[in-house]
């Protein structure tokens, strides 16, 4: 098949199941270990649109290449694994193990996607609590005063504590979740349709929560209300919290789903919207608008 044809087929996301449905060989330790190392670069190509998506794909590629020997299936797998992804960088191997076990068993793409989206969301808060609010302050707290006193082992000790915990967590989660996914697969395939529907519901529920939780657009405009200045954002919050992110998400959804816009076109639109809005001082943020009309 021509590459262009293949591209159209995959891009349309009409691929729901893999061509080759024979489960692949279980992944060997060397490949799993390689992916733990690659997981260190989850945020390599972090970006505002899909966040860690390409880094996530980079991490699981050695496994995917082993699993999907058929080029068309590899393309389908790589494509769906390039969708929006964001989780805690130190806990990502948990999601990796689950997804790889499903890929290896050639589960439905919809099932794999649903599990991926459902698992990535909650890990963010857990990871922050473990690493940024616990391990880092402890490691830095112990060693900072040593450093101020001129002890050259302070940075070494700091790195040992922090990375000891980090690597233990990364390896343990990878093996634990890969086994978990493998042992759950039998139950999953028996009621695959029902499971996918339920997991998709969980995924959609999480995306709804992400829209609110990650929504980062605010309005800077303030209007004169008698004597006092009233911020438009406060008025909007009185109607519905995070109304602007919700409306923008629904707008982009409409453009993609009903108008057939590509993601690049949407990004271009948002870039213009952001710049024009800042020019007139509409969007919130610490900057001085070019024209302040209110």
């Amino acid at each position: 098949m021509l590459v262009a044809e293949l591209e159209v087929k995959v891009m349309e996301s009409n691929v729901y199941t893999y061509k080759d449905l024979t489960p692949a060989q279980p992944l060997d330790r060397a490949t799993l270990n390689k992916m733990v190392i690659r997981s260190l670069f989850l945020q390599a190509s972090f970006n505002y649109e899909r966040m860690q998506a390409a880094g996530w794909l980079y991490g699981i590629l050695p496994g995917l290449e082993k699993i999907h020997t058929n080029k068309e299936d590899l393309a389908a797998s790589m494509t769906h694994n390039l969708e929006f992804f964001n989780t805690h960088p130190f806990l990502v191997t948990f999601v990796m193990g689950l997804v790889l076990s499903l890929e290896q068993q050639k589960a439905d793409i919809a099932t794999i996607r649903a599990v991926r989206v459902a698992a990535m969301g909650p890990l963010g808060g857990i990871g922050d609590a473990i690493f940024w609010f616990t391990v880092l302050p402890i490691a830095a707290g112990i060693t900072s005063n040593m450093a101020i006193e001129g002890n050259v082992f302070a940075p070494v000790l700091f790195l040992l504590i922090f990375n000891g915990v980090q690597f233990a967590v990364r390896y343990w989660l990878m093996y634990m979740s890969y086994d978990l996914g493998t042992s759950a697969i039998e139950v999953l395939t028996r009621n695959a349709k029902e499971f996918t529907h339920a997991a998709s519901m969980l995924g959609v529920f999480v995306v709804g929560a992400l829209t609110c939780n990650y929504g980062a657009t605010t309005i800077k405009i303030e209007v004169q209300d008698g004597e006092a200045l009233r911020s438009v954002q406060a008025i909007l919050d009185g109607i519905l919290p995070q109304l602007v992110p919700l409306l923008l998400t629904l707008m982009v959804y409409y453009l993609i789903k009903k108008k057939g816009w590509s993601t690049v076109k949407c990004i271009g639109l948002l870039l213009i919207l952001g710049l024009v809005g800042a020019f007139f001082g509409i969007w919130g943020g610490a900057y001085t608008p070019f024209i302040k009309w209110y």
Binding site: M11, M78, E83, L202
Partner: protein, 265 residues
């Protein structure tokens, strides 16, 4: 004064630290490590340790004193050490002098994240062609780009030691509407990611679930729960999903029973 070899070494260290702030060990970039490393390059480990340690305590919030903190810890830590060693400033003054260049580093982050959003279409192409090498290179390119921007920010900082006009120029950029607009656009681009997931996963009967997730997160947000909110969202979401799963399996099995299978009841 800073010699050419020292300058090159500092730029290389910055390049690595810039990548490390989001990748790899995600701890090499911390001031407590960068301080002594940069101090060693400049021939004064002791001052480097002192600056790094003090700045580290400030970043974890357990140091009561200290003025304004640089907006980016990588450039902040490196430049503060450079200023402390090369210009003999004390810790607070050195951190203050580092602020414009840390700001420059932060602009580099915004710029990289924006540019890489545009390159995701290229990544899609590599995926559709089943080309793992293309994905690898895209990731390496992005890291190199970020490292380069940060090295340039540090270079500007080193130049400013002999030419103070550089710092004034960068300070003039602060609050610029173009950077504000890029930041606002950056905050919006994730909605594209959400929309793509919704287009694929959201069957028409699931709109209620989407808004329910949104509502729950809004309520938890109003309670002041940031990070843990998504864990609580998962609890409720899993409950709904399990219920849906059990009901549908039960319906399927009941249907199967009517088709002639007997459970012996």
């Amino acid at each position: 004064m800073i010699g050419p070899l020292q300058l090159v070494l500092i730029l290389i260290v910055t390049f690595i630290a810039a990548i490390d702030q989001f990748n790899f060990l995600e701890s090499l970039y911390q001031p407590i490590v960068m301080g002594p490393v940069v101090g060693a390059i400049l021939g004064d480990v002791k001052t480097g340790l002192a600056v790094g340690g003090a700045y580290q305590l400030m970043t974890i919030g357990s140091m009561p004193v200290g003025g304004a903190q640089p907006p980016n810890a990588v450039v902040g830590g490196i430049m503060a050490t450079v200023f402390a060693v090369a210009s003999g400033l004390d810790v607070n003054a050195a951190l203050g002098a580092a602020i414009p260049f840390a700001l420059l580093g932060q602009y580099g982050v915004t710029l990289t994240f924006t540019l890489m959003s545009g390159l995701m279409a290229k990544a899609d192409e590599h995926a559709a062609n089943a080309n793992p090498k293309g994905i690898d290179n895209l990731n390496y390119f992005a890291m190199g780009l970020l490292g380069l921007f940060f090295a340039l920010a540090t270079l500007a900082g080193v130049i400013s030691i002999t030419n103070p006009a550089v710092a004034d120029f960068i300070n003039g950029l602060e609050g610029n509407w173009i950077m504000g607009g890029l930041g606002a656009a950056g905050g919006m681009m994730r909605y594209v990611g959400f929309a793509v997931l919704m287009r694929i996963m959201l069957a028409d009967d699931m709109w209620g679930i989407y808004f329910a997730g949104f509502a729950l997160a809004a309520i938890l947000g109003a309670c002041g729960l940031g990070g843990p909110a998504l864990i609580l969202v998962a609890f409720v979401g899993i409950a709904i999903a399990l219920y849906d799963y059990n009901i549908n399996v039960a319906i399927k099995n009941a249907g199967g029973g009517a088709g002639g299978e007997s459970d012996g009841i």
